[in-house]
Subunit: 138 residues, 3 copies
Amino acid sequence: MVFQKAITVPTRIHGDVHDLTDRVAKIVSESGIATGTVNVSVIGSTAAIGTIEFEPGLKKDLPEMLDRLIPPSRGYGHEQAWHDGNGHSHLQATLMGSSLTLPVSDGKLVNGTWQQIVLVELDVRPRTREIVVTINGD
Amino acid sequence: MVFQKAITVPTRIHGDVHDLTDRVAKIVSESGIATGTVNVSVIGSTAAIGTIEFEPGLKKDLPEMLDRLIPPSRGYGHEQAWHDGNGHSHLQATLMGSSLTLPVSDGKLVNGTWQQIVLVELDVRPRTREIVVTINGD
Amino acid sequence: MVFQKAITVPTRIHGDVHDLTDRVAKIVSESGIATGTVNVSVIGSTAAIGTIEFEPGLKKDLPEMLDRLIPPSRGYGHEQAWHDGNGHSHLQATLMGSSLTLPVSDGKLVNGTWQQIVLVELDVRPRTREIVVTINGD
């Protein structure tokens, strides 16, 4: 069995972190699938999907860490070609990853109490993000 | 067809790397699934799952690299709120990722000779980690 | 339903980035699976799979970023044991990840217009890479 649904998330700014856990858990419930996996993928090359404890400290720490490792810069080859100011957005998204697969057991998403599924906006302007949720199993 | 089993791994310390390959390969064999994928996910927000050549050099290099990129620090927002000393643990786990999906062919886990599936403990104290292994296929 | 096929990609050098999107999309079409997920995994511990906008600027920026974060060095434990000059290759591959799972909808791979699936060669010599593509769904 397979069940798929897309959700959209409007974002405001680089470093905007959104908790998708409840929406993903609801789609898992709707699917009627008892055992399997759920894949959460963001379409696009300047946003990331991951897990983190969704609390105000880490919501700030995560984009700060990414900006420290891969800072905004005019020096990227991407900037020299496109001048759109988001070279770091692409590289941060590639390093963190655009998709995630977690288990489904007893008809429910399996995640830790302090482990949420998040979308991280890494582009430099507001976007409307499409996220595809796919459950495979029985 | 889907087959799922949880395993537990006791860990001792930040940077403890455990080879899960044999246990995952055994669950793949038990599943009776010939072709498909196997997902390996750790429940929790301060541990990571990945692949690496499991040899003493890299076992030391991997957590050292993560500590160099994302050092322990009292400066994280997470620390200022929770004072539990594991802000870097959360950020390292998010960057490396908490799950992994590999192919299954001819009833066997497909991995390179020098490519093992590992759990990396990133928290600052011993933990008992639960890892869920799910095989989807035919 | 499940469908699996392996492809090979010869690579030339550390930092060689290959666009796999068309080949993966073709395997998705061949599979006859309308809805589900496609997993793309590289076998081996010194190459990575990810998504990025495949354009000349980022093709150069991505390996440069990885080399800046995890530079070649004789100081790694891996080097001291094996002297094969690819300690950074292993660590870069582990951090970026060796596999990726994206959605399949209406019989097609779902990816953004500027979001390609890439193989990144991280080893220090030419390799022939085997990539296994697995589609699960209905």
